[in-house]
């Protein structure tokens, strides 16, 4: 019996020839990640251990992206803890305001995470890096502290669920976001609990890296330990100019064992909108048509990449955002922001009436930069629509892709992009 890509990466990092689902292994880590919310708690735990130095200052990434630029004194104090630790420990990958991006956009872009890596991050969306063919999973601050101290972590080898998309004839405007919302609607928010989700088929292989990163980003919303895609020529093209160290390509064996295989036809997946208050409440956009919105959010670690901004700008260009809608755009990184600026996309969005923010996790988690009042409703390209996620516990969040978000911002209600773009 062969192994899946996840099993191969875990085996290699545990120094084993073979691992099986259910087996508990201890493995060496290529990267340990924390941010300005989880980092200070991890640092407090790290300091309790009485160890002077982290295991390797070049294998730790500290990203001040959640409450930055610092929204208040308390968050400034949190950032200061992260900054001081990074300096004292000589951490190579530390980013602060002005250079920082949203961690899961930033680390792939900067070539810090690469195919074949084993990564833990004190952020649930760490699973994003599976799009590069890495095994990456979210942990809490204590596990992160132990990882920073030892460079190792224990894992239960997960069973793998395989999701195969046949065909490349996706409907117009359908993106990675729609595929992952569609899957979560099928299996539920605990449908992949403790398991690895492997995405495959010619439909997946036809997608850009930006779309693949979006899909793996939301594996956690089905409860998964990771989302992962086998590297191919598109992956290699993405990493070859970014990688500053060796990396290894792993692929699933033809006779690898999967707990379950789901098959979908590309052409059958409609544009998705997830209703409050769980990502599994995803339906076709037509079922959400006409729902009035107060705010549109375009960005985040899910949909804050260049392609996302390109699509949103192409829809908003030359049009005006509905007078009763606040539209907030937050690019994933400074590089993405600059590239969008050079391409005229930021200008098009500002002229349409959007507020464009510096990269931050702020609005996605109801932290700052776009909080909802009681009874308000947002349509957002982010990843969670839990109760109170973006503000008041009686506010509502609907999730969608950037094309639906931009088109709906113009109409003031949820619409299919074809309602706004004639040639859609």
């Amino acid at each position: 019996m062969g192994m899946t890509i996840s099993e191969k990466i875990l085996a290699a990092h545990a120094g084993l020839d073979k691992v099986e689902p259910g087996e508990i292994i201890n493995a060496k880590l290529d990267l340990v990640l924390a941010n300005d919310v989880t980092g200070p708690v991890a640092i407090k735990e790290f300091n309790k251990l009485g160890i002077d130095k982290v295991f390797d200052p070049e294998k730790i990434a500290l990203v001040a992206d959640h409450f930055t630029p610092n929204k208040d004194i308390a968050s400034a104090e949190q950032s200061k803890i992260l900054r001081n630790f990074a300096k004292a420990q000589n951490i190579k990958y530390y980013w602060d305001t002005g250079r920082v991006g949203i961690e899961h956009c930033l680390l792939p872009e900067q070539g810090v995470v690469l195919p074949g890596d084993l990564i833990i991050g004190a952020d649930s969306h760490t699973c994003t890096y599976g799009a590069l063919g890495a095994f990456a999973t979210g942990v809490g601050s204590t596990d992160c502290a132990a990882g920073m101290a030892t460079g190792e972590a224990w894992f239960r080898v997960p069973e793998t669920l395989k999701f195969v998309f046949r065909g490349t004839d996706f409907q117009p405007w359908v993106s990675g976001k729609d595929l992952i919302l569609y899957i979560i609607a099928q299996i539920g928010v605990d449908g992949a609990r403790y398991k690895a989700m492997e995405f495959a088929g010619d439909g997946i292989r036809s997608l850009s890296m930006d779309n693949r990163l979006t899909i793996c980003n939301m594996a956690i919303e089905a409860g998964a330990k990771t989302g992962i895609i086998e590297p191919d020529e598109i992956t290699i093209e993405y990493v070859k100019s970014r990688a500053k160290r060796e990396y290894k390509i792993y692929k699933s064996d033809p006779d690898a064992c999967y707990e379950k295989v789901y098959e979908f036809q590309a052409k059958d997946i409609p544009l998705q909108v997830a209703f409050p208050h769980l990502p599994e409440n995803s339906k076709s956009v037509d079922e959400a048509s006409g729902i009035k919105i107060d705010q549109v959010v375009i960005g985040s670690c899910t949909n804050g990449r260049l392609e996302d901004l390109k699509i949103a700008a192409s829809i908003l260009k030359g049009k005006k955002i509905h007078p009763e809608v606040r539209c907030i755009v937050f690019p994933g990184t400074q590089e993405i922001y600059l590239e969008a600026l050079r391409n005229g996309w930021i200008e098009a969005m500002i002229e349409a009436g959007a507020a464009v923010s510096t990269p931050t996790c702020g609005p996605c988690l109801g932290g700052h930069m776009g909080i909802l009042a009681k009874g308000e409703r947002a349509l957002s390209t982010t990843n969670r629509n839990f109760v109170g996620r973006m503000g008041h516990p009686e506010s509502e969040v609907y999730l969608c892709n950037p094309a639906v978000a931009a088109a709906s911002a113009i109409k003031g209600e949820i619409v299919h992009p074809r309602e706004v773009v004639n040639n859609g």
Binding site: S124, V189, G367, I371, V387, G391, P393
Partner: protein, 162 residues
């Protein structure tokens, strides 16, 4: 022995401790806002020794360790649920919050019931209804880890005893 606060399925970490309070990681501060978006009366009325009961997939969503820290600092003795999200499960034990998986107990316990939990035996006793339920007990090392107050304290204790 404590009073039960029962919640439903898919209680996420945003509900356990909303992100608007994560600009401060002090456990007392987190406890004062625990479960706020599910039951605004919880933090003010929860008593030391009380127990949270949840449905399936308790603790889904974010990796914030602030969620189990808030529950523990609020004085909650244990959480009992049908099932847990992966990161929350690991985080809870890592900070020394005992959490038990027992679907039968969840079905047999209502809000306001008085429940006693014997962690060594994995026994859940509903004193109000005079029923009891058997959850899988934690192995010895995990009981020691919980008693120590979490993984880091446990490692330190082991080191100093070595």
């Amino acid at each position: 022995m404590g009073k039960v606060w029962k919640f439903g399925d898919d209680i996420d970490t945003d509900v356990i401790i909303p992100a608007r309070y994560l600009n401060n990681s002090d456990p007392k501060h987190l406890a004062s806002h625990c479960m706020e978006d599910a039951d605004p009366s919880f933090a003010a009325n929860v008593k030391p020794g009380d127990i949270i009961v949840g449905g399936k997939n308790f603790g889904c969503g974010s990796s914030r360790e602030h969620a189990p820290i808030a529950i523990k600092a609020a004085g909650v003795k244990a959480v009992i649920a049908e099932s847990y999200a992966r990161i929350f499960y690991r985080n809870s034990l890592n900070i020394g919050l005992p959490i038990l998986e027992c679907p039968e107990a969840v079905r047999g316990i209502e809000s306001g019931d008085i429940v006693e939990v014997d962690l060594e035996k994995g026994l859940i006793m509903n004193k109000s209804k005079e029923t009891s339920f058997q959850a899988r007990p934690f192995p010895k090392f995990m009981q020691d880890l919980i008693k120590a107050g979490g993984l880091i304290s446990y490692i330190k204790e082991k080191r100093s005893n070595a």
